[in-house]
């Protein structure tokens, strides 16, 4: 036990003292925040550029008031000109495009024959804006033709908003589903990132011991299994420290950056809300916020926290012992590639299944199965838990994870024990199988 402690301590200290580790600890949050600011800035820049669109209406259904210029789009009326002239004018003025509404016998025909000419293919949002503009106007004309009273029609419109509550009569917020997805996703994603970053670190550290040839000296004093476990735990501790520092730095730098650049999430979306409407929204939002807060308190927070810890440890140990075995099997990092794919595939699968299946149906068959398979369960189950998972499902999943963990660690330790003393040749899967039977 004392020796294990010594190994953990050495691994931790050598990781933390490493220059790359220090640089990455400081630099990574800066890079992340920097990228965020850059993207925000570029989005804003994109919205700031004004696009001029000319329109040529031959149908006569459209009024100038239908084409309301906005900060990002400017409309020019070319309706007096012929199509050829309008087109050449648009080209010579370098306008964004020309909207051509031809003259046809019926409104329906007009609607299906509208053309948009542009040099570059227009962006989809722009096209759908124009479509709804044309549609709205022509619909009104059609209603007039059919003799419908537009005012009455508008009056008849009702907006429905379904309030959610459970059978106990407790109200809940619709936003909470988003919250649940968010919490689950970030937990699952974090586990994946942690495994990939620090699993690879364990692997490199094993390779380092092999190439520096110190390994035989060490395992004449300690059991290979102790060395492997010490390495895995020591690296995890260094990783946890790094993650914590990243978290703190991200918050600090985030606050500083947003106060300097004034980048707020609302602005990023580029939504301009009229004042009185925003008042209403604020009121709704504060009600909503209270509801969300109440909802969060009702989430299985304790279960979530405990299961995060357990799945985190289980998933990390499972994968990092595989990484350690890979490191032991090879002589240098380039030889690891053939073994890396089978490790990365289940991890990726976990995250993508999580994104795809858990969001649409947290308790569907795909989500349930993947939250049971030990290689994906740490990620997928954590995504499901905020939606409420029966305790026995979690139990089965954990038992499976534990059992697989024990089997894998046993195999990994065997490969590790043999592999660390093997030099020279690049092993094949067949040889690894043979090592397990030694």
């Amino acid at each position: 036990m004392d020796k294990l402690k010594l190994i953990i301590k050495r691994e931790f200290i050598s990781k933390v003292r490493n220059k790359t580790f220090l640089v990455m600890t400081i630099l990574s949050p800066l890079i992340v925040i920097g990228l965020g600011v850059l993207i925000g800035f570029l989005t804003k820049l994109n919205q700031d550029s004004i696009k001029t669109i000319a329109y040529l209406d031959e149908s006569g259904y459209f009024l100038e008031s239908d084409f309301q210029s906005s900060p990002s789009v400017l409309y020019e009326n070319f309706s007096g000109d012929s199509f050829e002239i309008a087109k050449s004018k648009v080209e010579s003025n370098e306008f964004y495009g020309l909207l051509y509404i031809p003259r046809k016998d019926s409104i329906v025909d007009v609607a299906s024959n509208v053309q948009f000419y542009s040099k570059k293919s227009p962006n989809i949002i722009m096209v759908s804006t124009l479509e709804s503009l044309v549609e709205g106007r022509l619909e009104e004309e059609r209603m007039k033709q059919l003799g419908l009273d537009i005012k009455k029609l508008n009056n008849s419109k009702v907006s429905a908003s379904i309030q959610l509550s459970d059978f106990l009569g407790e109200k809940s917020s619709k936003l909470i589903n988003g919250m649940k997805i968010g919490i689950g996703m970030s937990a699952g994603y974090m586990i994946m990132m942690f495994i990939i970053i620090y699993g690879a670190m364990v692997m490199r550290s094993v390779i380092e011991e092999k190439t520096s040839r110190i390994i035989e000296v060490i395992i004449s004093s300690v059991k290979p299994f102790e060395l492997m476990m010490g390495k895995i735990v020591g690296t995890a501790l260094a990783g946890l420290l790094q993650f914590t520092i990243w978290g703190i730095l991200l918050v600090i730098i985030g606050v500083i950056a947003s106060s300097i650049f004034g980048v707020e999430p609302v602005n990023l979306e580029g939504v301009n809300v009229p004042v009185e409407q925003s008042e209403v929204m604020k009121e709704v939002a504060s009600n909503e916020a209270q509801l969300i807060f109440a909802e969060i308190m009702k989430l299985p927070l304790v279960t979530m926290f405990i299961s995060f810890i357990i799945y985190f440890i289980g998933g990390y140990l499972l994968y990092s012992s595989i990484y350690a075995a890979i490191g032991a099997a090879v002589d240098n990092e380039t030889d690891t590639q053939q073994f890396m794919l089978p490790v990365l595939i289940p991890l990726m699968l976990g995250v993508y299944v999580g994104f795809a299946a858990v969001i649409s149906d947290p308790h569907g068959p795909i989500s349930t199965v993947f939250s049971m398979i030990p290689f994906t369960s740490p990620i997928v189950m954590l995504m499901r838990i905020p939606f409420g998972v029966a305790w026995w499902e979690i139990l089965i999943s954990l038992v499976l994870l534990l059992a697989t963990f024990l089997i894998i660690v046993w195999f990994a330790a065997k490969i590790y024990r043999i592999g660390i003393l093997m030099y020279g040749k690049k092993p094949t899967y067949k040889e690894l199988y043979k090592w397990m039977r030694y």
Binding site: S212, R213, I214, V217, S220, S221, V222
Partner: protein
Amino acid sequence: MSNLLEVRELVKQYGDYTALKNVSINVPQGGVFGLLGPNGAGKTSLIRIINQIILPDSGSIFFNGKELVPGDVHLIGYLPEERGLYKSMKVGEQALYLAQLKGMPKNEAKAQLKYWFDKFEIGDWWNKKVQELSKGMAQKVQFIVTVMHRPKLLIFDEPFSGFDPINANLIKDEILQLRDEGATVIFSTHRMESVEELCEHIALINNSEKILDGKLNVVKQQFKSNLYEVVLKVEQPKQLQKEIEDKFTTQPSNLAINDKELAIKIKIDKNDTSNDLLTFLSSKGELRHFVEMIPSVNDIFIKAVNSHRNG
């Protein structure tokens, strides 16, 4: 004399390949024990099993009369052939870490390290990283790390590789001093002249089997072929040579002589003694040189391995 280490009937297989086939050796308490054998004979497997790095398929090892257990690792110091240190770790920290892994308390380890670092006059390396040291310097640190916990049994696998002659001598003297202080040394090497110099006992492993072991001088007696090298001062060397060649089996000698001398190697019958030969030769002329050709370890090695190979 009691045995510090007794290896009994060790068998080790890697898949279809047999690395050790019923190997038994006894390493007596004190002294230097030479473990010899060609490349791939199974020496490293045997040493690794003694160090409990790998497990034998069958067989047992007794240390000081008791079966060897994992708790005994601190009683053994091992310098592997494939050796190295953490490159980016400081020398002092690293030595301290390895000493603690061997079960030494930190303070004791520090004191021992100071003693050895002073002895080798490398005290100022303490805060250097291993990657800043030359290969020879790193080897010195490695040697210290192997012996600092004062183990009862020291196992050196090619200890002199990587040392220049001066440092190799220094290490040899240290090994002998440790032996004099009571440590038992197992010494595995290909350098036969150092075996000749250091070892009291040897064991020879070839092709996974032990083919020879025992006290070095006894082994030499077994392998001697009753060959004597002589130099005689005579008037007619050619004539005498003919006479001797008729009577005995002979081999040419390479000793430097002048033209009134005869140098020759003479093999005598097992039943004859050296005195018989002496009497015969002294009647023929003035005997200048008379030496029994005791085989070198190198000769024994080659002879034993070849005869084992041919069945």
